[in-house]
Every structure is written in structure tokens, then in C-alpha cells.
């Protein structure tokens, strides 16, 4: 009763205010988290410009092969949708357990060495 009243007063708040369990109880937190993800689309990104079932023309080059058919967005690996995100790709260069980080570091080191070795300046 109370929770529906509070919900109508503050429609933006998603946290259920149940009188018995405090909102910091783990059960409430898990329940709210599930509610949040159910409210948004599973990935929170825009749908692809190629809908499911559309043939991707021009890719097949074998005589007895066919052009591949686009699958549903969810059937592609998650990293695929991050490839165009500049920020996310650049983030890879900040974590030491990534190849990109070490490559960037090496390149900067080489440039620094070259600068130091440059006798003309």
C-alpha cells in the first residue's frame, strides 16, 4: 500500500520502499537491480542498421557458397558493438594487462629514445 503511494508520488524512483525490509537489504538490492535491467533493453545500445534475416551481399566469393544472412543482434559477440566506441578502445591502452597498453608504452619509449639520440637538436 505504502509502496504504491510512494511510487505514484515519485514516479522516477525505482527503489521499492517496503516497510519491513530496509532498502539496503541484499534481497532488495538484487530485486531492484533485476528491475533496472528489465526496464532497459539488455544492452542499452541502439539496434543494428542491418536487421535479422537480411542477406549481407557481396561477401561470399565461393561458387557453391551463399552470402551470409544477418543474425539477431544478441547472437553476435558483445565486443563487436564496442568496436566503434572510441572511448572504450582507448581505454584498452590504460590497463597493463592489455596488449595495447604495452604497445603504446613501447612506442612512446622509442620516440623518447630517438629524441634523446637526435644529435642535431
Amino acid at each position: 500500500m505504502i509502496c504504491t503511494l510512494t511510487r505514484s508520488l515519485q514516479p522516477v524512483r525505482r527503489v521499492l520502499l517496503t516497510p519491513r525490509i530496509s532498502q539496503f537489504h541484499s534481497a532488495t538490492i538484487i530485486r531492484n537491480a533485476e528491475k533496472d535491467t528489465a526496464a532497459k533493453p539488455t544492452t542499452g545500445r541502439q539496434p543494428s542498421s542491418v536487421p535479422k534475416g537480411q542477406t549481407l551481399t557481396g561477401i561470399n566469393f565461393l561458387k557453391d557458397g551463399k552470402d551470409p544472412v544477418a543474425l539477431d543482434d544478441s547472437e553476435y559477440p558483445d565486443w563487436l558493438w564496442d568496436l566503434l566506441d572510441e572511448k572504450k578502445q582507448k581505454q584498452k591502452t590504460t590497463k597493463p594487462n592489455n596488449r595495447q597498453y604495452h604497445r603504446k608504452k613501447n612506442r612512446e619509449g622509442i620516440k623518447a629514445m630517438n629524441f634523446m639520440k637526435d644529435k642535431k637538436n
Partner: protein, 147 residues
């Protein structure tokens, strides 16, 4: 780079259209200069590319040993070729980077990456890395990749 040839092995890199016999311009002089009969190569090459749609450019690397015998490796078609065909264009942009000639989806990129992974050079790379490379190639041709 691919592994280096031994003592006097010669490496010849050519782009040959699949199923095409021995024309003088691309194949003839390149092989003939090293003492290989181009007809032999062309027969073997056409045999190997029987299952491929004709006119598809196939990069090949021919290793010619000092005794004039040869072996060759065929690879997957060039990425630019696959991208342009998927986008439905024949020529890339005049000024890539500023000009956008066509658009492709990430799903196209994924499918092209799957083809590319079958290439000997790229087998050890993750599909994610190959996709990244293909997006880079698309930029250089003036094709914009969108969701």
C-alpha cells in the same frame, strides 16, 4: 612477414584473378624471369581456384626453388575488395578520411573477419583484432562503418 626463403629461393607475390589462365602482363614475366613455365603455374592455380567465383583477385605467394620447381600459397581476397563489394562500390574514395563513399554495418565487418581468419597469416589473431583491422581498412577506402 612470412618466413624467409632458403639460400636461393625466390618469392614472388602476385595478385591473380581466380580461374584466369596465363596472361602475359601479370603472371608471364614475373615467373618467366625466374625460369618457371607460366603454363604450369596457371594450370595448378586454376585448379586450386576452381571453387572460387571467377575474377576474384587472389593474392598468391610463389616460392621458386633453385631447381626451378615451385610451390604456391593462395590467400583470401584482399580486404578492400571484400569491403567494396559488400558496399556495392567499385572504386574507393578519392580523399578517404574526408569523403564517405558508402556505409557498412558491424555485421558485415564480422562476416568479413570470419573469412579473413581462415587465412594462414591471420589464424593466430582473435576475431576482435581482425575486426579492428578491417575497420581501419574501411577508413582508408572511405567506407563508414555504422552500427
Amino acid at each position: 612477414m612470412s618466413k624467409k626463403p632458403q639460400a636461393a629461393d625466390a618469392l614472388v607475390r602476385i595478385l591473380v584473378a581466380a580461374g584466369k589462365a596465363s596472361p602475359s602482363p601479370p603472371v608471364g614475366p614475373a615467373l618467366g624471369a625466374r625460369g618457371v613455365k607460366s603454363m604450369d603455374f596457371c594450370k595448378q592455380f586454376n585448379d586450386k581456384t576452381k571453387h572460387i567465383v571467377p575474377e576474384t583477385p587472389i593474392p598468391t605467394v610463389i616460392t621458386i626453388k633453385p631447381d626451378r620447381t615451385f610451390t604456391f600459397v593462395t590467400k583470401t581476397p584482399p580486404t578492400t575488395f571484400l569491403l567494396k563489394r559488400a558496399a556495392g562500390i567499385t572504386k574507393g574514395a578519392q580523399t578517404p578520411g574526408t569523403e564517405v563513399v558508402a556505409k557498412l554495418s558491424l555485421k558485415h565487418v564480422y562476416e568479413i573477419a570470419k573469412i579473413k581468419q581462415s587465412d594462414g597469416n591471420l589464424k593466430h589473431l582473435s576475431l576482435e583484432s581482425i575486426c579492428g583491422s578491417i575497420i581501419g581498412v574501411a577508413k582508408s577506402v572511405g567506407i563508414q562503418i555504422v552500427q
